[in-house]
């Protein structure tokens, strides 16, 4: 590992999909001296612990646009970064269990279609064609988007890090930001466990620890972290391509290209930084899983883990420069969907930082919305 530079054009705190994606997009735009500070290893935070799904079926326009833009990028990302990220588009089947959900999904689909996302309603029979073993007694209708899918979060993260490094970015693992110097309302330097870097720009891409990083600059942002648990099964022959999710049950599951199923379910959790898995969750999950896909009862569970959703009060991310500290940019609070909207978020943030115009309007995702009371509620979050 090389030595910490004395100064940088941009210091990014957090080496997950958001931090590494922004670093890559900045170097692509000619920013020379980009530094990533990662307090642990690459993909140790939310990115490496996520469910690996890539979904565009959102209920908030900004999320739809960020997700659609990200899928457009994911489609050629392996080539662009010269690294196979195991992207596959097997679709997402979203179950509707009652009429209230059907009418919400009707609004969502109209919005999704208006920005070019090819989602549609499917009957229970069509759902069964898409996912043959599903128990159709548990839902009344579903929506399906064939261009949703999967990417390997570890490999995508490594791919961005390596591409950024090839273009001159410097990545410091096991290096934690311990302080941010602010002078006359502007960022001046970042202190770390191994030294100080002078910089005019800091990006808070710290995922679960976004609140602490903002606090280093004297700022209070309304994010909090919450444990979410997942599991993986042994690899088996391909059963179906689609991700199956239900907002009602809070469950999602998908067979990944490797052959294993990755699955998760949300539970009522208090805000915490706990990322231990529990047997109680495994029992709860198993009951819900077997109600919708009883055929999977003979699959073996190989591995359980947990990670954090970094949440905001309206489940939409906080993006943009903080109004109180010039040069301090937030890209935080992704509320469980940072990986899938990461690629387009990185483009938007890089444009914002270099004084360009983000291809997706992210103005109304600024932190100021909470003070003004202009929340932008995302209705379609799992768990």
């Amino acid at each position: 590992m090389s030595e910490l530079p004395r100064s940088a054009d941009v210091v990014i705190i957090g080496g997950g999909i958001i931090g590494s994606g922004i670093a890559y997009e900045l170097t692509k735009r000619g920013v020379k001296n980009v530094v990533i500070l990662e307090k642990s290893y690459i993909s140790s935070g939310s990115t490496g612990r996520c469910g690996a799904g890539v979904r565009q079926q959102w209920g908030l326009e900004a999320n739809c646009r960020l997700a659609k833009g990200s899928v457009d990028i994911f489609e050629h990302l392996s080539e662009e970064l010269d690294y196979d990220i195991e992207f596959r588009q097997g679709g997402y089947l979203v179950l509707a269990h009652n009429e209230a959900q059907v009418s919400q999904f009707k609004k969502n689909i109209a919005l999704q279609n208006s920005v070019g996302i090819p989602s549609r309603f499917v009957s229970r029979e069509e759902a069964k064609e898409i996912c043959p073993p599903i128990n159709t007694d548990t839902f009344i209708k579903a929506t399906f988007c064939p261009t949703d899918g999967h990417a390997n979060p570890f490999l995508t993260n490594f791919a961005y890090v390596r591409a950024a490094e090839r273009s001159g970015a410097k990545v410091f693992r096991h290096t934690e930001a311990t302080g941010i110097e602010v002078d006359k309302g502007r960022v001046k330097a970042v202190h770390t466990t191994t030294g100080k870097i002078s910089t005019p720009v800091v990006v808070n891409a710290a995922g679960p620890w976004s609140k602490q990083v903002a606090a280093l600059a004297g700022l209070d942002i309304p994010t909090y972290s919450e444990r979410h648990q997942c599991l993986a099964t042994e690899p088996v022959e391909p059963l179906f391509d689609t991700m199956v999710i239900s907002f009602q049950i809070g469950i999602y599951l998908q067979q990944v290209p490797h052959g294993s199923f990755v699955m998760g379910i949300g539970e009522k959790e208090k805000p915490s930084y706990n990322i231990h898995s529990s047997w109680q969750w495994l029992e709860f999950f198993t009951g819900e899983l077997l109600s919708i896909l009883p055929v999977l009862k003979n699959l073996r569970v190989v591995r359980q883990w947990a990670g954090s959703y970094n949440r905001t009060p309206d489940a939409a991310p906080i993006l943009g420069e903080h109004p109180e500290v010039g040069g301090f940019f937030n890209a935080v609070g992704f509320s469980g969907h940072g990986f899938m909207i990461g690629p387009m978020t990185a483009v938007c943030m890089a444009e914002l930082i270099t004084g360009g115009v983000p291809p997706v309007n992210i103005d109304y995702l600024s932190v100021e919305r909470f003070e003004k009371g202009e929340l932008v509620i995302e209705p379609s979050v799992v768990g």
Binding site: I42, E283, G287, K297, N298, R300, W305
Partner: protein, 95 residues
Amino acid sequence: MRENETIICRCEDLTLEDIRSAIADGYTDFEELKRYLRCGMGPCGGRTCLPLIRRELARVKGVPVEDVAMPTSRPPVQVTTFEAISVGSERGKNE
């Protein structure tokens, strides 16, 4: 020893050559190496491969084996079917 014929990770069919070339390629952080190759993420839970890979990392880094921290061990200790979990659960008992 023939590196390309020596299986280190039986779950993912990884040879010593696979491990060495990934380390040479820069995956020297044990946690990252595991996520890159999937070694230790299969049905054995890393019991077979991780101690061997740990020794390899120690050799490359020139440090004692105990200085290379082992990746996190994850439950369940033994691979288990959903059916067995269901039968043993409170909900399963009541059904």
